[in-house]
Amino acid sequence: MGLAGCRRAVAKLRLVSRFEEAGSALENQSAMKAEDVHWVDEPTIGLWEAMYVPAILGGLATTLRHAFQKPVTQEYPEVAPDLPPNYRGVHRLNRDAQGRVKCVACMLCATVCPAHCIDIIGDQAPWADRDKYPTKFEIDELRCIYCGMCEQACPVDAIELTSIYDLTGVSREELIYDREKLLIIYDQTKDNPKDPIRTTGGTLGPAAKILGAISPPTTNTKC
């Protein structure tokens, strides 16, 4: 019994005993029974196998097979990856129809954020049709875990995640995105077919068309 065979046997023994542990934990059994242990003998290796020729040929065959297949690797960064439409990348702050920041500084995103990376200061809005707006809106993109809960919590669809994933910077401060930076990301991504406005006023926006046959909610959202 060679070394490889011995390892296999021990691995199998470990596997068996692990299943046994799980089972005993479940059924509250105390000890492993002797019949649960399966000893495995090492397969006998002849001269042909000992020369490694079949293994080398098998490896070469795999290489040859892949040489004629479509490659699965991506030529990043020369070729951009094809991301799914619900990809969660860098945030943006949407604008309303008049081009103002859509956010009403309700701080629900900052409340729900599990990484505490959103910092908002609200104040009286200078516009007649709005009560409150953010004077400061900062997201620490380094601290963010891109879970997308801010997007779900937002009652006015102001914060959304885009498909931008390759953010770099030479300092930590550079990657704390303020209100203006987040609005610029909106300007840059709003016409990108990958980053449509995801919802509009409670119903799914253009993003629904990309995602396919998801019908907009029909319930009355008025209260």
Binding site: V104, A105, C106, M107, L108, T111, G122, D123, Q124, D131, K132, P155, V156, T219, N220, K222, C223
Partner: protein
Amino acid sequence: MAIVTINGQDVEIGDNERLNVIQAAKRIGVEIPHYCWHPALSVVASCRMCLVELGEKKPDGSVSMQPKLAPACQMPAKHGTVVVTDSTKVKQAQATNLEYLLLNHPLDCPTCDQAGECFLQDYSYRFGRSASRMEEPKILRADKPSIGDQITLFTDRCVMCTRCVRFTRELSGTSELQVINRGALAEIDIYPGQPCNNKLAGNVVDLCPVGALCSKDFLYKQRVWWLKTRESVCPNCSTGCSITVDQNEEHVYRLRPRSNPQAQGHFMCDEGRFGFKYVHAAERLTRPAIKNESVSTNGNGEVAPDWSRILGRVRQVFSQHTEEDPNGVAAIFSPWMTCEDAYLLASWLRSLSPAVRLALGPIPIVGEDDLYPKDWRGEPVQPPRFVIRAEKCPNRRGVEAVLKHFQQAEVEIGALFDDARAGKLHAAQVVHPGPGGWLNGDQITALARVPFLVVQGLLKSDLSDAAQVVLPGASFAEKDGTFVNHAGLAQMIKRSIRCPAEGYTDARIFMELAGHTGLFNARLLRQEMAREIPHFAAFAAGDLGDQGVRLDASVASQEVAAR
């Protein structure tokens, strides 16, 4: 004793108690929702939220119920009253009523400051229905930010409970607020050009069960679910209103009154409500310092902590001077100090020498006691329901009691200033954990002649400039302690935030000066004070509860027991 049956459960009500059905139900944990009723205001029964099934138990044991629902706030809980709050009929009435109140209520909870402590939200969640059947557009009414200097009105959020109107009529007596128009168009308003600026105006914000009346000072500063709340006592006058301090991330955002029938009732004045700003003033002292001494830095250029060195120097100079001439050593106590702080400082100085003079500093008296409600001439109506005291400090009686224990003869503060002026004082410690403007220019000039003047306080001022040693102390929000109000009611204040920068709490400074080991524990110190000082016998439990304890009563009962 009256027995009221609520949802089949009997509630006992004392002979001298006058409760309505809402209060009786609360006693067994049954909540009857209500907007317009408030224990301190008259009953109008206009919101219709507290409708319940009422009936009467006849002497023969039979129960006769009223055919229609009746408001619980208006119904006195008398013997034999039968109340049902959980029947389908009541639940339907509650849901329908909430739907009606929400007809024209805007859906702006995300930007509303009340969200999180709003009774419309809470009751809708618990008693209401999730969707509205309203098809027509909502009636929009313009906001009224000019309704008062400290308050603003979001007209369309109002549910017309008229608590604010009744408050200005019954508590402040100034009657600025009123209801204009009728029906769906009714709104709260003021007489043109006469804003609601009375000294109790801030209370209408607390009274408002929804987000209609908001405080301009707090508006959009924080979401309420971030605030951490602790019970405390307002330090602005000797009424000693029970309050809560609401803070987040070491910043106090607002003070709110807390109901305490022993102290002030349900409310507080605007002077106290907005008078805490000095806690976060830019002039706060941040590190201990000795005059004309360069700041020591470590190898990285950072300023090294100086506390132990400076306190050691204070201790050494004070004991040296006490040995030479104990009459030339004095301490001036501020009426903003807690009883515990005063006790620690007095016991340290007395341990140096019984001849050290301890004096209570000047008591700030501004005008006269301001009694509410007022009549239409502005004269107070008897009996007063709320008093803003002229004595603008929280703890004169407490500090007096401590000093009286340590020295039988009271030291005149005027004589102390005269001695300072004459150069007879060699070392003095002035402790003032309160706002600026306590000592006047003459007094500060007199103290500036003391060769070793230690000033322990909050703010940089002429007094701290005159000092040889400056020790940054703690404000009322930064420490544990006890205040004794004008009527001898001792209430606990609790630490809400930390001292800014390198500040120490006053008690810690005194403990280190006295060479005590361990940490300051207000509860244990109160127990020690109860053993040492008969006046503070009521501190024996250590914990004074939410409502505080009366010192005089305990002294009186002790005297009775002694006899």
